[in-house]
Structures are given as C-alpha cells and as structure tokens.
Subunit: 208 residues, 2 copies
DNA sequence: CCTTGTGAAAACTTTCACAGCT
DNA sequence: AGCTGTGAAAGTTTTCACAAGG
C-alpha cells in the first residue's frame, strides 16, 4: 500500500474527506459508512473506498468506519496529526486575510511567520504574528525547521521569493500569485489560481 | 470543433495560456511557437496544440501563432473578450481582498456588486464598490443580468447563500468556503479550497 | 528545416461488480 | 442483509509520432 502509485486526485480528496468526518464527529456520529462519509460531497462511495484503500484497510465489512479512528488515520496519512507550521510571504490584503484564515487551523496548520519587504508593514502585528523583514527568513528557518511556504506577493516577484524560500530550506510552496514557478523538481509546488478558476467557470457557462 | 467533448483540464489551462500570451505581447512578441507559449508553464507544447485544436486551427505550420490573434481567440473562447461582471457575497477579510484583487481585471472580470448581511459592513465603500445588503441581491440582479457569483461567507452559511444566488439568477458559482455545495446540476460550481490545497501539499512532502 | 495539427498509443482515473467478512 | 475491499472494465487525458504546410 505504501509506495504504490497514488493518483493526484486521490491526494486532493483526502482533506475533503477529513473535513466531512470532522463534521460527522461534531454531530456525535461514531460509525459511518462510505455512503455517509461521501454524502453531499459529490463523490461516489466507491471512490472513497478506492482512495482509502491505497493506504490500508480501515473499515469493517458490513458495518462501516469508526469515525474517530478514521479521522486519526487521515490526519496521520496527510501528515497533520501534529500541528504543522508554515510561513507566508507577502502581507498584502490577500496575505493578511490568509494569516487569519480559520480553514487552516481546522486542519492543524498554522502560519507561524509572515514576511514582507515593505518597511511600512514590517513590525506590524497581525493576528498575533509580527510581520518580519523578508531578509530574516533564512536566519529564522535555520533555527526552526519549517518545510512549507505560502507566496502572496505580486506575480512579478513570485519567482524570486520562491527561489529564496528554497534557498532557506522550504520544500513545498503554495503559490497564490498568478504565475507559474520554476523550481528544482524535488520541490513541491501547488497553485491557487483564483482568476483562472473564474475564467474556466465563465467558459463553461458560455459553452457547456 | 464545437460540441466536441472538451476535457476539464483543457478548460482550466485556457486562462493560463492567455496570461502567458499577454506577457509575450507586453514583451512586444508578434509571433510565438507552441514551445514559446508554454515556456516556463510546465506544460508540453504538444498539450497546448492539442488543447487549442478543440476549438479550431489558429497557427501557421512552420511559423507559429500570431500573438495578438491568439489572445483575441482565447478571450473569445473563454468568453472574456468583453468585460464580464460578477457579484461577491461575504465581505470579510478574504472577500475584501478579492474585491481589490488585480488578477481578475487582467482577465476582463469585474466584481460589480458586493453583498453582506452584517449591518456594520453594509454601506461601506471598498475599492469604489458599495457593500449592499444581501437582501437586495435578487432585486439588483433583476435589473442587471449577471451570471457568476463568488461566495466568501463562512462554511456554515455557504449553502444558503448559494441557493439564494441561484434563486436570483446566478448560473455559475465560485466557492471559497471550505464546504461542498449542492445545487441543481445545471448550475456550474467551482471550488477554491485553500486549506485542502495546503493539506495535499503537506501530504506530498511527507510521502512522495 | 521549422512548426502545426491530429490520429493512435500509452498512461492514468473512475466506475463497476462481486467475493468476503460482520 | 449490509457494507467493505479490490481486481477488471470502462472511460478519460496525455504523450507520441508523423504527415502536411510554410
């Protein structure tokens, strides 16, 4: 089950399953079938069972899945069973909004450091985090091992910031800037491309 | 070429190609090959040619593509050759950041109305847009035909807001709330799920 | 000799369907 | 009887490879 090839779409569904399971737990559900886990997610129960089967067998035939156990299992699989610290660069409007975004903490993810190069922003406290000079990144990451960085700078500065992150020890980048990054291929890069998303939606509206 | 089945991933690449072509145009490039169009995008030229071939033939063999013409073609295909107006609901930190987000205007997309139900926010002007009472949505959309809505409210309110949007005439929804929406299937829904994206990235870091 | 456009092959993902356990 | 786990089939997307045109 480990080292087997895992489809990218499977990976992207894991946090979605987890979020729904946390909801089920809040509703005091102890046992849930694949059908219940997928209810309202627009994912077939078969897909969930296939997805989870890449990692082992966690259900009971004829019964379903233990909600608490599956939550723990998914957190463990994703790697968020303990708090995960990340950094953010670019404390503009979007960056500030992300620092305070509750969706991250629900998945045990915390933005621990925020950086900018604008003297007007450096030193400001946002949601309990002091905005630091971007020049200090490498030094800070030498002290504390953090592997993930979020980029919220304008598109024309994103590549340079990304390279500096990699130089500072970052291994995974979530890029909100509307541009493609070119980094060593051992570095994982994900994109949140809000304008393209909206563009695709408009296309579908017009054509499908 | 029309009515042929078009892969979803093709659709999601169209705005990316367009953005790169706009960059090439800014660099005064008149003709570009598929290789140049894909340079630094991490997309193979073959993929671009296949993608664009769903819509017709726009290049010259042995030469390449006329940059201006291809920009116009892509804008036309996506449906953003004229300004597209959209609405946004939920003027919290993320919603406010989106109202001011430059990435949308680069694709000819404009957030024309912003709504909230919080009396403290209603009436505020953000980037030249007055925040309106959400109750006014249906009335406003009766006057002006707008097809796309952006949801930036908390997860537990997203479904209700989405249903109200559909009732008001919205046909496509971009959902930033970390929850799945259940709407009539003629309605197009896209998701920007920032926390899941970060979760998937952390998974890859730990496992691949 | 360069680059496009496109069938065909390869690769990948989802859905099916059913054996197996409770 | 009910639900999981999983090979096999179906469906989809990407990559290949090459004919055709500048």
């Amino acid at each position: 089950m480990k080292n087997k090839y895992i489809p990218d779409d499977t990976i992207r569904r894991l946090p979605v399953y987890l979020r729904n399971l946390l909801n089920l737990k809040k509703q005091e559900k102890k046992i849930a079938s694949s059908k219940e886990i997928c209810f309202s997610l627009n994912i077939l129960p078969d897909q969930f069972r296939k997805d989870i089967s890449y990692f082992g067998t966690f259900g009971k035939r004829g019964v379903g899945y233990d909600v608490d156990k599956l939550i723990y299992t998914l957190e463990k699989i994703i790697g968020i069973d303990k708090k995960v610290k990340v950094i953010l660069v670019g404390v503009g409007r979007l960056g500030s909004a992300l620092i305070r975004y509750k969706g991250f903490s629900a998945l045990n993810i915390e933005i621990s450091y925020a950086f900018d190069n604008d003297p007007k922003k450096i030193g400001k406290i946002i949601e309990g985090i002091e905005v630091k000079d971007i020049e200090k990144m490498e030094e800070i990451l030498k002290e504390e091992k953090i592997l993930v960085g979020i980029i919220c700078v304008p598109a024309n500065k994103a590549q340079k910031v990304a390279e500096y992150m990699v130089k500072s020890g970052i291994k995974g980048v979530l890029n909100f800037a509307p541009t493609t990054l070119n980094l060593p291929k051992k570095i994982f890069v994900s994109y949140v491309d809000m304008a393209s998303e909206l563009g695709s939606l408009i296309f579908k509206l017009n054509n499908l």
